[in-house]
């Protein structure tokens, strides 16, 4: 299909295009310089951006489905009946796979990465990704509590750890190394946790510090497209910002193997807490932002809270247990042999709660205090801070200090007293919005063909019905919120899939995974270990562990040349 998107206001931060009126040409699923005999779409008076890229969202896999099954009360709040084109779909904080695809497409997103895949459960994650239409997909693969990783790093064998990581990504069809509460997930196997970077992991005689630095080295040795994706220790604990600052220091001196950061600290809103009890709970977003501003190899994503009912889910098992013991709400947990320990529990962010009000403010503070928008990516850690379809509200908050003030009036006074949000005048423009919702994500993930509109990029485009010359987002924030909720057009691989906020075509995206090759001798050594460990300690045979390609829609391996030996 050939298309010309004519005369829109184009925002493409990776190519430095800031609201210029121009045409975007599309041919064979790619952006091209010029195209003939094309269908013309008039985009005058509209905002044109690259398709959105979701970098951290729990959209598929065991714990997401545990959340769905545990919470039948969640589903009738948001229902999209079957149409001629689309499947029956439902779910609010835990939308069904179909709804996930449809809703992202309506927001103008064309790519999404699920945030935490346990390798043993990878087949399940891919079965769900298979059923998410509209998007290119990938999975961040959990390694921070993996027994192989911890043992290899403990004995200083980084090469073998790297060979294992490469094998695991191939076996699980994963895209990047995800680290969640390093050491804490293993400790949770005994009902315990680790509370600082130098707490030893029970029985493994290794510390979170060693796991993080080790996996950082592994990641750069393998030269993976994305950096390590780190959910730091102590999530959600009062006073945890010190752990977060200390964790950031671990990236010092490491040079990235590619043009990107060395570590992405994820959902830092949950890691920027000051105070010494829930009574004195306060924001330390400014300290965290200052640290991010001063570093060139660390980026963060926000994990913004939006008020309402949601389902929290993370591979941080001890944290979910702790949270459920605070709320008394139902709690699910599943320790996964040799790998990780996810948990799920519902949560309500109430406007009347001082803690929730401060959490809300912290996310916005982070986004507004961090100067370079490519270093602070917009996420809600779906569904932990809020469901992803609340992005338009967050975009409107970022673009309008007036809207923030209005909201501030509705929420508990702690947001005013214990955070700096009320003192911030900064308002994002469309260029910065494009940076925090797509360009930064694509850059962080090492996706050269996404997040921008230069020739050669994937023809994934979002067109929003906002005229930047007429609309003042600072005042017209409700309009901004509304228009970012449903695109005029979403274009996926050069095809119009959403028009005027309605799905007009259902497509299946690619599944991206990393295929990193290491030295064959090293691989043989690894195979001996795999054989030994699987026979004794796993409950499945090694031969039944790797995910077959048949589970993937449009399987797209990213081949990586590594520097291992």
């Amino acid at each position: 299909m050939r298309l010309i998107l004519r005369n829109g206001f184009v925002y493409d931060p990776l190519n430095g295009i800031n609201g210029e009126k121009m045409d975007i040409c599309i041919e064979n699923g790619k952006i091209v310089e010029d195209v003939k005999d094309a269908k013309v779409i008039d985009c005058s008076g509209k905002v044109v951006m690259p398709g959105g890229v979701e970098i951290h969202s729990h959209i598929a896999g065991g714990k997401v489905n545990t959340g769905r099954i545990m919470r039948p009360e969640d589903h009738l709040k948001n229902v999209m009946p079957k149409t001629r084109l689309t499947r029956a779909a439902n779910g609010y904080s835990t939308p069904s796979t179909f709804l996930t695809g449809y809703l992202y497409a309506k927001l103008g997103y064309t790519t999404a990465f699920t945030a935490a895949m346990p390798p043993l459960m990878a087949r399940h994650t891919h079965e769900e990704l298979h059923d998410i239409p509209m998007l290119d997909k990938g999975a961040l693969t959990l390694m921070g509590n993996n027994w192989f990783v911890m043992r290899y790093l403990k004995r200083g064998d980084v090469e073998l750890a790297a060979a294992f990581a490469a094998w695991l990504l191939r076996a699980a069809k994963g895209y990047a190394i995800k680290v969640v509460n390093p050491g804490g997930g293993e400790a949770w196997g005994w009902g315990r946790d680790v509370r600082n970077l130098d707490d030893p992991v029970p029985h493994f005689d290794i510390t979170p510090r060693e796991i993080i630095t080790g996996l950082t080295r592994v990641n750069e040795m393998l030269s993976l497209p994305h950096s390590i994706h780190l959910h730091a220790n102590n999530l959600g604990r009062v006073g945890n910002y010190l752990t977060t600052l200390e964790t950031m220091e671990l990236a010092n001196g490491t040079k990235p193997a590619r043009e990107r950061q060395v570590v992405q600290l994820t959902h830092v809103q949950f890691h920027s807490y000051g105070g010494d009890s829930w009574r004195t709970f306060a924001s330390e977003a400014e300290s965290i932002a200052k640290a991010v501003n001063s570093k060139d190899n660390v980026i963060v994503d926000v994990g913004q809270v939006v008020f309402g009912d949601t389902t929290t889910m993370t591979a941080d098992g001890p944290m979910e247990y702790y949270l459920s013991s605070l709320t008394g709400l139902k709690w699910s947990n599943r320790n996964i042999e040799l790998e990780t320990s996810p948990g799920v529990t519902p949560f309500i962010y109430s406007k009347r709660s001082p803690v929730a009000a401060v959490q809300w403010a912290i996310g916005l503070e982070l986004a507004l205090h961090i100067k370079d928008p490519l270093k602070v990516l917009l996420t809600t850690d779906h569904p932990n801070g809020a469901p992803f379809f609340r992005y338009p509200t967050i975009i409107a908050w970022l673009m309008s200090s007036r809207y923030r003030e209005e909201t501030m009036k509705e929420v508990h006074g702690a947001a005013q007293r214990n955070t700096t949000l009320a003192t911030i005048d900064r308002e994002y423009d469309f260029y910065e919005i494009a940076a925090v919702t797509r360009a930064g994500q694509a850059k962080s993930l090492g996706l050269a063909e996404k997040g921008h509109l230069g020739a050669g990029a994937d023809a994934d485009v979002a067109v929003y019905d906002i005229n930047p010359e007429e609309v003042d987002p600072s005042r017209d924030y409700k309009l901004v919120e509304e228009r970012f909720s449903a695109t005029s057009y979403t274009i996926k691989d050069g095809e119009i899939v959403v028009k005027d906020g309605e799905i007009v075509k259902v497509v299946n995206g690619r599944t991206l995974y990393v295929d990193a090759k290491v030295d064959s001798e090293l691989e043989r050594e690894l195979e001996r270990d795999l054989d030994y460990y699987f026979k004794r300690f796993y409950s499945v045979n090694l031969a039944n562990y790797p995910v077959q390609e048949v589970y993937l829609t449009r399987p797209t391996p990213i081949e990586v040349k590594t520097n291992v030996r």
Binding site: N65, M70, H75, M121, R123, E127, G189, S539
Partner: protein, 441 residues
């Protein structure tokens, strides 16, 4: 002689994946490592006398052999003409077939339900209330020092569960295997599992709830006033609770003795709360002993596609879930469904009489590997390949670990997999030309 290793046994929820199978002339001649039930299932695929081989349609009161095309045509007609068809079964086939089945239910505006409804349905209801603190079975093998089976007799129902995952295997932190662990069985009678246990606790029939409550009371620091609860002496209850609190990693496996006895989902709700209470003191998890090899898979697939684990009514154009209303037996007993499709299950043998009476009244399509009382009263019968022996696919172990079933031999001539039958049926219902992904052999 082709020899297959790492084959997955598609019988029970234990889903053993270490089976070795030898095949000669499309006959299984040897099965290694499987239990007697599993071995029998593999070998039964040789026995064509007991298989359904030809599609059949009821004409003038008698089932007569027809072409597959005609059987599917008739099945589609029955389902399309129904106002509210019931699509039931699903637990003994792969996720791929289940997935198409859900799409078909949606297309028809019908009700879809699985055998969950008559086994661990109450466990699911309890999960809605209280959550589910569990783990994968390898965690039990590596860490558990206290193993409890409550209302479950794995020696008979899940013969290799004990040797692969729980009491016998050596694990990373349990190097000596059985001698590093303690096995407690709680049941109404001394089962064969109870005979090998370190401790057997006999609970009065129908009083499990009381015993769980008593244990919770002790775990939470309360004092028992009664001399005995549910037939168990006070001292024994205190000793048991203390054992649970003082272990390093405890696991509670529970079976239908808890889910389908008096109290049902309230028993499980209480048991979940007990496990949660125990987590204040130590590490404790639980695991339902799921029966059919892919009953978990059905809830997973329906979960991610429709949000609910079983009993979904698509009549409104979206998923409506209300156990007691949308569950198969309720739909049948109210006489609400006017046609049914049953796949990989035999409700005529297992459902209450009133449900079966209605099933006998309405047009019925049955898809199965062998004749059953359900296929005998059906109006259309379509034979299918045995998933995990004659067809590939995905199944979820009782702890939700997904595995890919292997195919080790060809199905009987002309017989298709459940997935393929469902695809053709869906295409026919939609009036599309069938997408022939697999040619009929």
């Amino acid at each position: 002689m082709p020899r297959y290793t790492d084959v997955i046994c598609s019988f029970c929820g234990t889903l053993c994946d270490d089976i070795e199978v030898s095949v000669e002339d499309n006959r299984i001649v040897d099965v290694k490592h499987a239990c007697r039930i599993g071995t029998a299932k593999f070998l039964s695929s040789n026995d064509l006398e007991h298989r359904l081989l030809k599609p059949m349609v009821r004409k003038n009161g008698k089932l007569v052999e027809v072409s597959l095309e005609e059987a599917i045509e008739r099945a589609a007609e029955i389902l399309k003409n129904a106002v509210k068809p019931l699509l039931y079964g699903w637990s003994s086939t792969c996720c791929e077939a289940q997935s198409v089945g859900i799409e078909l239910a949606e297309e028809l505006g019908g009700v879809i339900d699985a055998t969950v409804t008559v086994c661990h349905g109450p466990s699911v209801l309890a999960v809605h209330d209280a959550g589910y603190p569990g783990c994968t079975l390898g965690e039990v093998k590596n860490r558990a020092d206290l193993i409890i089976y409550w209302g479950s007799n794995p020696m008979h129902g899940h013969p290799r569960h004990l040797s692969r995952y729980s009491i016998f295997p050596r694990g990373y932190f349990r190097e000596r295997g059985q001698s590093d662990r303690e096995l407690i069985v709680i049941d109404v009678r001394k089962t064969d599992t109870a005979k090998i246990a370190n401790k057997f606790v006999r609970v009065n029939y129908g009083e499990d709830y009381e015993l769980i409550s008593a244990l919770r009371k002790v775990v939470n620091g309360g004092e028992l006033r009664e001399e005995s609860v549910a037939g168990v002496p006070k001292e024994e209850i205190i000793a048991l609770a203390e054992k649970m609190m003082n272990c390093q990693f405890g696991v509670l496996f529970f079976g239908m003795g808890l889910t389908q006895s008096y109290g049902r989902h309230r028993n499980i709700d209480n048991a979940i709360c007990l496990v949660r209470d125990l987590n204040v003191h130590t590490k404790f998890v639980m695991q339902p002993m799921r029966g059919h090899y892919n009953v978990v898979g059905f809830s997973e697939v329906l979960g991610w596609q429709a949000g609910f684990p079983y009993a979904v009514d698509f009549g409104r154009g979206f998923a409506w879930y209300n156990p007691g209303e949308t569950t198969a037996n309720d739909v049948l007993q109210r006489g609400e469904c006017d046609a049914a499709l049953v796949i990989a299950s035999d409700p005529v043998s297992h459902f209450p009489r009133k449900s079966v009476e209605h099933l006998a009244k309405i047009p019925l399509v049955a898809i199965d590997i062998h004749p059953t009382p359900t296929t005998q009263i059906a109006d259309v019968v379509i034979p299918s390949a045995i998933a995990g022996i004659e067809a590939e696919g995905t199944a979820y172990r009782m702890d939700s670990v997904p595995l890919r079933l292997r195919k080790v031999k060809e199905p009987p001539e002309g017989v298709l997999s459940d997935e393929e039958i469902m695809r053709r049926l869906l295409a026919k219902v939609r009036g599309e030309a069938p997408k022939l992904e697999v040619e009929a052999r």
